[in-house]
């Protein structure tokens, strides 16, 4: 049987960047095939070529053994290829049926088309066990269900080969599990799935084979059963990587940051953090575990001074923070620094050159200029030194912030905050969208900071990361702290229950 997809000697360049270099890939029919690689390794380019967003400079695409020319996504759909993007292409105010129908309405009037879509959706739902209300408004569905709509759209258009680009990046762990169940069902029905991800755990859990890309080249394709995460990581990065950072025991010092009875509402007036009490000591990493959207973001922003709590007290090094002091400017002065969860929306100004983003929050510092003016040369020199220290690539302070890869952007933000000698560092999602090589580096820096006596509050949706770095773990659910564990006295299952809101008292 010929493979579902064969890519032969694909080349693609953007200017001087050789994004794909003689790439060969063969995906067997009825399998789940993983593609892993660091950011910028060329995975997305390769899939964009397969889906018709880009045309390869040279090379051949074969679908089911036949050479095909794919110049647009329509060609791809005709060839039986469907794609589920990381950022959904859905119209939120429309219903599921309407979204699936979009682009396949079948005539001036919608009635006939709609009936057909309904019948077909019913069949697909039965075949694959997709449980979804076809008349629900898409904008009101959870992210996991929205992703299901994307998959339904692709299936409705007759996709035999489904490409999923980082599908779990936006999902909660239970949603991710549901997705995997669905993918397995698709595979059993003879569909072929290509899964692009950088999470090795997912690769190990679900794929049959896995291909590794590095710097535009396909460096290996292996049977999943015959490989291991460390081996894959090494293939991706090109050197040995420690997936787990070593850290020494350290007794925590004096309490630095204490909040009590802390409640926060969001901009729409919804209570997002309710009655939280926590303490961060010197030389301690406190991790907050929780499914995304359970108030961690709001808590972090409130602690950083970006939102005022509606209730509660906050103490910094034992002194109570007054209402008027509760702003980011004052918090920075006190030594409470913040690596925000969303570096593109908060941590940097994407349109600014890197050296300008590297003073965000500190532009009033007298050392950065004279009187009302900023000294660009000094700022550039300063960032150059940090870039060398943090191995930011390319080490060009004048490059636009948006031009750096996610990991390098994160390093710029981390360098900015860490080199200001924080007393307490709030860290949100430090490794979201960051390469494995950079993750290791970032984890080491955080541990070094903790060893130097800084108190760190870590918020992350990656449970591995929380368990790996924290000394103490708090779980959050529905805006409340549902449990507290020492990192070495808990496991994933225990935390998972707490994150789901099963509290100690209830248990």
């Amino acid at each position: 049987m010929s493979p579902a997809i064969e890519l032969i000697d694909i080349n693609k360049s953007f200017g001087d960047v050789h994004a794909n270099r003689n790439v060969n890939l063969s995906v067997a029919r009825g399998t789940i095939h993983g593609i892993v690689g660091e950011n910028g390794a060329g995975k997305s380019t390769l899939m964009s070529i397969l889906y018709g967003f880009y045309t390869a400079d040279s090379g051949e695409i074969r679908v089911n053994g036949r050479p095909v020319a794919i110049h647009s996504s329509n060609d791809a759909i005709t060839a039986g290829i469907g794609m589920v993007h990381q950022h959904f292409m859905l119209v939120e105010p429309l219903t599921v049926v309407e979204n699936v129908m979009l682009g396949a309405e079948g005539g001036t009037f919608l009635r006939a088309g709609e009936a057909k879509v309904r019948a077909e959706l019913g069949r697909l739902s039965r075949d694959y066990g997709l449980d979804i209300d076809v008349d629900a408004t898409v904008g009101e569905l959870s992210v996991g269900l929205q992703q299901r709509v994307e998959i339904l759209k692709a299936l409705y258009r007759g996709a035999d080969i489904l490409i999923l680009d980082e599908p779990t990046a936006v999902l909660t762990p239970p949603e991710a599990d549901a997705l995997f169940t669905l993918l397995k069902a698709l595979k059993e029905q003879g569909k072929t799935v290509i899964l692009i991800t950088h999470k090795l755990r997912e690769i190990m859990a679900i794929t049959d084979r896995v291909s590794v890309m590095r710097r535009g080249e396909m460096v290996a394709t292996v049977e999943t059963a015959e490989t291991s995460p460390p081996q894959l990581a090494e293939l991706m990065v090109g050197r040995r990587v420690l997936l787990r950072v070593e850290k020494a025991e350290r007794a925590p010092g004096a309490p630095l940051l204490q909040v009590e009875n802390f409640s926060v509402i969001d901009s729409r007036g919804v209570l997002r953090v309710s009655n939280v009490a926590l303490t961060v000591h010197a030389g301690e990493i406190v991790g907050i575990a929780g499914v995304a959207g359970n108030g961690q973001s709001e808590l972090l922003e409130a602690l950083a001074g970006m939102r005022r709590p509606v209730l509660g007290t906050m103490r910094f090094e034992g002194r109570e923070i007054g209402f008027d002091e509760h702003n980011p400017h004052r918090m920075r002065q006190l030594g409470l620094l913040h690596v925000p969860e969303d570096r593109l929306r908060m941590g940097l100004v994407p349109a600014f050159q890197a050296f300008e983003s590297a003073v965000l929050g500190f532009s009033d510092d007298p050392k950065l200029g004279h009187g009302p003016l900023l000294d660009h040369d000094a700022m550039i020199e300063d960032l150059k030194a940090k870039m060398a220290h943090y191995d930011v690539r390319p080490p060009n302070p004048r490059l636009k912030s948006s031009k750096f890869s996610g990991g390098n952007q994160q390093k710029i933000v981390l360098a900015r905050e860490i080199e200001r000698n924080p007393r307490v560092l709030l860290v949100g999602q430090p490794t979201r969208g960051v390469d494995i090589g950079a993750i290791e580096f970032i984890h080491r820096r955080l541990i070094a900071l903790r060893d130097a006596g800084v108190g760190i509050l870590l918020v992350s949706v990656e449970l591995d990361e929380i368990m790996n770095l924290s000394d103490r773990i708090l779980t959050m659910c529905g805006g409340q702290i549902t449990g507290e564990r020492k990192a070495d006295e808990t496991d994933e299952q225990d935390l998972g229950l707490l994150m789901a809101g099963v509290t100690d008292r209830a248990a």
């Binding site: 980011p328 925000p340 940097l348 994407p350 965000l360 929050g361 200029g369 003016l373």
Partner: protein, 367 residues
């Protein structure tokens, strides 16, 4: 991966606007052709009338001065993410500020009165812009809507004041008495004459120097100062501003104050430099031209100076053209500037894409 719409800086700042202007002129040429006139001779009159004589050049630079001020006004607000459409109204109030200052302090010598008049214009312009700024910052009223409304309010207010309060006694014209002589900003030909150099006389006055200084000041402010940094953070990424402890509300008000003050510069050039009295409708739509100028100039002071010069040429050359080829009225100039706004502003993406494609294909051919 490199973003598809990525351009080297020189192409972004020079090539794209140049292509837009050339295309705008080509389309305008078609319009001229369509009304049965010869576009080539029209172009000749346009260039000849604006740059061909010392006098013409003087008038061109006089208009350029106006446009630099209003262009900078739009640009400063733009950097804070605000679209200030209210240049007309702010300049009108700036005229009122200048007039009230120089008419009431006429006992002062010129070296004090002129700076005070300029400050009066800036302060009134700033105050008029501050109200929409405040409403945007604190109440969320959209700046575009409020500044447009404030243009109308300014125009009605000035009519009322000129007709009922400020009109010169015994005069039928709705205008103030002449500004005291020592408050007149010297004409360029007078200044040159003082050094024994004779240049043709025109409306051009020393306000041009003030405009260029303002352009330098805006560059320093926006790209080199802490305040400008904060303004750009708010304009480019308001969430990051909150993260950084920069108050978007405060910056919105400050940016509008600066913007309104710069719009007041139009009154300085027109009234203190040329008309020497406050009169109706001296702004003549130049506040709106500032929008086009700022768009074309990419909100950068150097770009704004160049775009102002282009619009100065259009306005002066257009007047000459209307005189030489009566079938082409001054309205034609409005059409041409409209086309430029369309091409430089709204269709910018189109030309950008075009330039990107051409650059990439030549690069590929070389490789």
């Amino acid at each position: 991966m490199s973003a598809p719409l990525d351009l080297p800086k020189w192409a972004d700042t020079v090539l794209v606007p140049a292509v837009s202007v050339v295309c705008a002129f080509l389309v305008a040429g078609l319009v001229v052709l369509a009304i049965g006139e010869d576009p080539v001779s029209a172009t000749r009159y346009l260039i000849q009338g604006s740059l061909g004589s010392g006098e013409g050049l003087g008038f061109t630079l006089f208009y350029t001065t106006d446009f630099i001020f209003t262009g900078l006004a739009v640009a400063v607000a733009y950097h804070a993410g605000l679209f200030n459409i209210g240049g007309e109204g702010q300049a009108t109030l700036g005229g009122l500020g200048a007039a009230l200052t120089v008419l009431n302090l006429s006992f002062l010598p010129g070296f004090l009165l002129i700076p005070l008049g300029i400050l009066g214009a800036a302060a009134f312009g700033a105050a008029w812009a501050a109200i929409p700024g405040y409403l945007q910052a604190k109440r969320g009223s959209h700046i575009v809507i409020t500044t447009i409304m404030f243009n109308w309010l300014a125009s009605v207010l000035i009519v009322y004041l000129l007709v009922n309060v400020l009109r010169e006694a015994q005069s039928m014209n709705p205008e103030t008495r002449e500004f005291p002589a020592q408050s007149h900003i010297p004409f360029m030909h007078e200044v040159f004459a003082a050094f024994g150099i004779e240049i043709p006389s025109s409306q051009l006055n020393l306000s041009l120097i003030l405009a260029l200084a303002a352009a330098f000041g805006v560059w320093l402010l926006i790209y080199r100062s802490r305040l400008g940094y904060a303004i750009r953070v708010v304009g480019s990424n308001p969430t990051a501003a909150v993260y950084a402890g920069i108050s978007p509300a405060r910056i919105t008000i400050i940016a509008m104050l600066l913007s309104g003050a710069l719009a007041g510069g139009l009154a300085v050039n027109e009234l203190m430099g040329y008309q020497h009295r406050l009169l109706l409708e001296f702004t003549a739509g130049y506040g709106f031209v500032g929008i086009a100028v700022a768009l074309m100039g990419r909100a950068h002071p150097v770009g704004i100076i160049l775009a102002s010069l282009l619009f100065g040429i259009l306005y002066q050359g257009g007047a000459e053209l209307a005189f030489e080829q009566p079938a082409i009225t001054r309205d034609m100039v409005v059409v041409i500037s409209g086309i430029i706004i369309l091409f430089a502003g709204a269709l910018d993406g189109l030309f950008r894409r075009l330039v990107v494609r051409v650059l990439h294909s030549t690069k590929a051919a070389r490789a």
